[in-house]
């Protein structure tokens, strides 16, 4: 039956989007132990920057790159100007990051207005794909592809580069990393920029599916939190797997158990965290 195959593809597409959304959050939390509650707002900002870029006739790829760069810079500024001053103050970080997301959301409302603004799917991906008797939106397959590519790049970055080695050292033991001469300050800024870059990229790549609208920030923030917690804090692989698990639970859950649509994401999370507080792949107890 077609229903199952289409829904499975939907689950993968949503999972891909969720990975683009949450990988940056996971990266920042893993290294810096900051629950960056601005992440949803940065994702939304990415979508809006892409809107503007595309008004200047940029293609989606260029627009996504612009969005990622702009949001990456914004992230770097947030880290340098604000979060740096309150490192170690977890409650202050909650206040600051939520405060910044209020500012960002209202800024978007001023600049782009209250309307939902569509982001055009690139022309070559607009026609649906037909294969094996199924019809499926081409762009969603592209999203799955992008998510996998991003995951591979992140993996290589973490495992094969000097930066990755420094990040891994920092995640394991920041004191020790400092002792061996890693400059935490520069590393933190770099990682925060990278995390924000990924949020902006996600906002733009997700744009053709979600569109850009006020409220996108809070919708996305809770999804990112769910994915990261389920996957296990500090684990990119956990985030990757959890993205697809959530994709499947959400897609099949809302279709098969519509009465549970509102609790479908939270019930499994309660069960997992209650029995395995580190998440599925995590090793760090918070």
């Amino acid at each position: 039956m077609q229903f199952w195959q289409i829904q499975a593809l939907n689950s993968f597409a949503l999972g891909g989007l969720l990975f683009l959304l949450s990988s940056g959050f996971a990266l920042i939390f893993g290294l810096m132990r900051i629950a960056n509650l601005t992440h949803g707002a940065l994702f939304m900002l990415g979508a809006y920057v892409a809107v503007t870029a595309m008004r200047f006739e940029a293609g989606l790829a260029v627009a996504a790159l612009c969005a990622a760069l702009v949001v990456g810079v914004v992230g770097g500024l947030i880290e340098r100007l604000i979060l740096r001053r309150i490192s170690g103050n977890a409650q202050g970080q909650v206040l600051a990051t939520l405060g910044i997301s209020f500012i960002t959301a209202d800024f978007c409302l001023i600049v782009w207005g209250g309307d939902t603004i569509p982001i055009q799917t690139p022309a070559m991906f607009q026609a649906p794909l037909h294969f094996m008797g199924l019809t499926f939106p081409t762009y969603r397959l592209v999203v799955i592809g992008i998510a996998v590519v991003v995951a591979i790049i992140l993996y290589l970055l973490m495992e094969r580069t000097r930066l990755g080695a420094m990040i891994r050292a920092g995640v394991d033991d920041m004191q020790m990393a400092r002792a061996v001469g890693i400059r935490a300050s520069a590393l933190f800024t770099t990682v925060f920029c990278l995390g924000a870059f990924l949020a902006g990229l996600g906002g733009a790549v997700g744009g053709p599916i979600f569109s850009a609208y006020p409220g996108l920030d809070s919708d996305m923030l809770s999804l990112a939190l769910i994915v990261v917690i389920l996957g296990g804090i500090g684990s990119l692989i956990g985030t990757f797997v959890a993205s697809f698990i959530i994709g499947f639970i959400y897609t099949f859950g809302t279709a098969l158990l519509p009465d549970l649509a509102y609790v479908i994401l939270f019930l499994p999370m309660v069960i997992v965290i209650a029995f395995r507080p580190t998440g599925l792949f995590g090793t760090i107890r918070t």
Binding site: A96, I100, F102, L225
Partner: protein, 310 residues
């Protein structure tokens, strides 16, 4: 210090005589928000457990009391204690689940539990009337005093606020409160000293949910209407922000923070169109200038001023 408190209280008692009805209602709302924030502060400030799901207790007690009076036709003398009791019992269960984790895990569990309650309220239309909410509610009239009157209601809320804050003060200054702070700062040590860290936290969680339920009762009396949005993350987050902005782990902090948030949201918004941005800027400003919150920050400032330039 004590004299200042008595002066403030006298001022608050007199408020309805020299200000308009609007300000009296606003003050009632600030007091309700203050009880709510103070109840959350028990967890956030004294137990070191950041909860992002405190709105469930506000909402549950409001819904239970509304449901009992609308569907069961019970009077306030029954609905109020029943709502407090049932909500606290739910708090017992939620605490048992949420305290399996701490830190961000605790935050997520409280968030998830509150989202589940929110979802149930939204979807279980037969009981909660779903998105239309429950309306047609009344305020109680204890000892024949009609609380429909704004001033009478304000005094009623003021009495309960004072009682709630007093009980919190007694709680945190008791030996139990000292051990609670011990579990926040040195939970490993407390644990090895033989204290039941989990149990101490659980008792605090339950007390906190009871006071949250109390705020919920006042909330539904004030609004005479209840909608699932009262359980939303936004409400939980606002209370959390109030606690942190005012100064978590202090008695006055959450009250000041709640007043700040309410005034920004309900009062400043009449003059400043971009009040959301203003609220964000205020929060960031507080974090940078007074990282521990307004109350500790101001006290430190005063101390430095009194001590003269050094």
């Amino acid at each position: 210090m004590r004299r200042n408190y008595i002066l403030l209280l006298a001022l608050l008692i007199c408020l309805p005589w020299f200000s308009g009805e609007y300000y009296v209602n606003l003050a009632s709302q600030i007091l309700i928000a203050a009880i709510f924030a103070a109840s959350l502060n028990l967890l956030v400030g004294y137990a070191g457990l950041t909860s992002l799901g405190h709105a469930s207790y506000l909402g549950l007690s409001a819904y239970i009391s509304a449901w009992l009076s609308l569907r069961m036709g019970l009077g306030h003398a029954v609905t109020a204690p029943a709502a407090l009791l049932l909500t606290t019992l739910i708090g017992c269960g939620f605490g048992w689940i949420a305290l399996r984790a701490s830190g961000l895990g605790f935050l997520m569990l409280t968030l998830a539990l509150s989202q589940i309650v929110w979802g149930l309220c939204y979807r279980w239309v037969g009981v909660t009337n779903g998105d239309n909410g429950l309306s047609g509610l009344t305020r109680p009239s204890p000892f024949g005093i009609d609380l429909g009157n704004s001033s009478a209601f304000y005094w009623f809320v003021l009495i309960i606020t004072v009682a709630a804050l007093y009980s919190i003060a007694r709680f945190v200054n008791s030996p139990f409160g000292a051990t609670l702070r011990g579990t926040r700062d040195q939970w490993r040590r407390m644990s090895s000293l033989g204290y039941n860290v989990w149990g101490i936290r659980w008792v605090t969680f339950v007390f906190s949910s009871f006071l949250g339920a109390l705020a919920g009762l006042l909330y539904v009396y004030f609004n005479k209407y209840i909608h699932p949005s009262v359980m939303s993350v936004t409400v939980s987050a606002e209370a959390l922000l109030a606690v942190i902005a005012g100064g978590s782990g202090t008695l006055a902090g959450p009250v000041v923070g709640a007043a700040l948030v309410m005034l920004l949201k309900n009062y400043a918004s009449a003059y400043v169109e971009r009040w959301n941005m203003l609220m964000g800027i205020v929060f960031v400003f507080i974090v940078i200038v007074m990282p521990a919150g307004i109350v500790p920050g101001t006290l430190a400032l005063l101390r430095r001023l009194r001590g003269g330039p050094r």
